[in-house]
Amino acid sequence: MLEGKAFKFGDNISTDHITPGRYFHLRGDIEKLAEHTLEDADETFASRVSEGDFVVAGNNFGLGSSREHAPRVIKQCGVATILAESFARIFYRNAINIGLPVIECDTSQIEDGDRIQVDLDEGKVRVPEKQIEVSFTPFPDFMKELLADGGLSAHLQKNKGFKIGGSSDGP
């Protein structure tokens, strides 16, 4: 089970909020780029977040660019998972591919600063202090496998190619 503090954001947080284009030149250095994580949504986020915390948002989190640097910097900051009402497609894919779990669930009752618990296997998010419990659909098998392997690269190396539902599909 994961436990940490919630950093709450609104709807339509774009990849430009997460990794602004003006730091394009830092893309080769994830650590430095991560110092600016979510800067255009909350300037203080990167300095306040700690290992195991959660990003919690509204609709369409991660819309915009295909830049995989966006989930990477969030992971680099120590964020354990992102919870949102919904995610943009490419962001969702990228997060799973780099081994960062992202959860679609009702986040309306979670407030900034709440201590929350997430149980990935059970599919539950809880805010114990407020007796709030929200369910989410656990990941499909292939994504579970990707996450368990540690992301796409590790998955492909371990299985010598893609493996979906037990059938290996090597290069």
């Binding site: 003006r22 295909s66 995989e68 490419i90 690269s153 290069p171």
Partner: protein
């Protein structure tokens, strides 16, 4: 049950009949990365000892976002891609060759292809009837190496276009209008398939603008059928042999049908800071601008430059406005040069930039100052997009942008 165009194309790339929701491993026909996403793909492949390319003659690395490079870190990113191209035999598109999506439609994409790109606007090639979609650096990196990718089969929306465009209204207005009505996440995880007599009547350039922005509604792909216009376009690009007809089955099942009469669309702009925050240009009131941009992968084609030039000819842009014009590719640049369009832009006091992304993503060339406002033909107006979170971006057609450059405020092109 008949198949949508998306299902047909993916089925033919994974050796079985697919249905929406299913996860498959599909073979790709081509892949692209650019200078902002490609270095990470290369790094991942090097770490995994997979420095190789499955389809080198259809894998292209583009130096277009920071081009020419404004700083040493980005020059070094370019070196990473040049070296990778040399080692694996994939194609390198150099500085000055143009924006990835424009070059892909000109030289590579074929109807029925499955193309993945580490850039969200890879969807542009949907205009040719190719299932082209954006992904991240890891996805596309490993797809380049293995020739395969994991895909979830999308549900599709059928967008039935009827009628024809009114005067001074362009396909940019159509797609802005559509995104305004279905919202920026209205088609998340879905395919948009454009059809109907209105779609058939649109030029290829018009279709590319619409496909390019499908992702701004969250869509995975924005597909047009491949028809006679597609064939003529490919012939013009000296690729007539790449043409084949592509269409969904007549009894295909769609999750939703959206009908749009093109004749009802007006010159439309997206207001800061989301693409779906749209308004008819005529109802905007007084919005003064500091910068106007014509170009990018959305509207940097020769047809777009012709429209802008026709408004600017023998006129000067407002003293308050910097007009930047960015041809999308070397081909477009040359055509514009030969037709005298570049002369028109320069004479009107505009500045012509080299082919590439230009100011679109805030890396260089036209970064906004604090409190400044820009109107651009690009596809995104997100907070901070043009390099400064204290700037505001409006989106419009090449005609709306040119008209606004003349008056110094956002202007319906029918006014000038």
């Amino acid at each position: 049950m008949g198949k949508t165009l998306s299902e047909k194309i993916i089925s033919s790339h994974c050796g079985k009949e697919v249905t929406p929701g299913e996860l498959v491993i599909a073979n790709i026909d081509g892949a692209l990365v650019q200078d902002g996403t490609g270095p990470l793909s290369v790094e991942e492949l090097r770490k995994a000892n997979m420095v190789m390319a499955a389809v080198p003659d259809r894998t292209v690395l583009f130096l277009d976002h920071a081009s020419p490079s404004p700083r040493k870190e980005l020059s070094n990113a370019h070196i990473i891609l040049r070296n990778f191209a040399r080692e694996t035999g994939v194609i390198l598109s150099e500085i000055g060759d143009g924006v990835c999506h424009q070059r892909i439609v000109e030289d590579y994409a074929r109807p029925g292809d499955l193309i993945v790109g580490a850039d969200s606007h890879t969807v542009t090639a949907g205009a040719l009837g190719a299932f082209a979609t954006g992904m991240g650096s890891s996805d596309v990196g490993f797809a380049m190496a293995l020739g395969k990718v994991w895909l979830k089969i999308p549900e599709a929306f059928r967008v039935e276009l009827t009628g024809s465009l009114s005067e001074a209204v362009y396909s940019k207005d159509v797609i802005l209008h559509l995104i305004g009505s279905i919202t920026a996440d209205g088609a998340t995880y879905n395919a948009l398939e454009f059809t109907g007599p209105g779609a058939t009547a649109l030029s290829m350039s018009d279709r590319m603008t619409i496909s390019n922005m499908a992702v701004e509604a969250g869509a995975k792909v924005g597909l047009f059928e491949s028809d006679d216009s597609t064939r003529e376009y490919l012939e013009e690009m000296s690729r007539g042999q790449d043409w084949k007809r592509m269409a969904p089955d007549p009894d295909a099942s769609y999750q939703r049908t959206i009908e749009l009469d093109l004749g009802t669309v007006e010159p439309t702009v997206s207001c800061p800071h989301t693409v779906d925050n749209t308004s008819p240009a005529s109802e905007l009131g007084e919005v003064e601008i500091d910068q106007a941009v014509v170009g990018t992968c959305t509207n940097g084609r020769i047809e777009d430059l012709r429209v802008a030039a026709s408004l600017l000819r023998r006129r000067k842009v407002s003293d308050q406005v910097r007009l930047l014009v960015v041809p999308a590719s070397r081909r477009v640049y040359l055509e514009a040069l030969r037709e005298g369009l570049l002369e028109t832009f320069v004479e009107s006091n505009g500045t012509v930039l080299p082919p590439g992304c230009g100011p679109c993503v805030g890396v260089h060339q036209g970064v906004l100052g604090d409190g400044e406002t820009c109107i651009s033909t690009q596809n995104r107006n997100f907070h901070g997009r043009m390099g400064n979170p204290k700037g505001s971006i409006y989106l419009g057609s090449p005609a709306t942008v040119a008209a606004s450059a003349l008056t110094g405020r956002i202007t319906d092109p029918r006014e000038v």
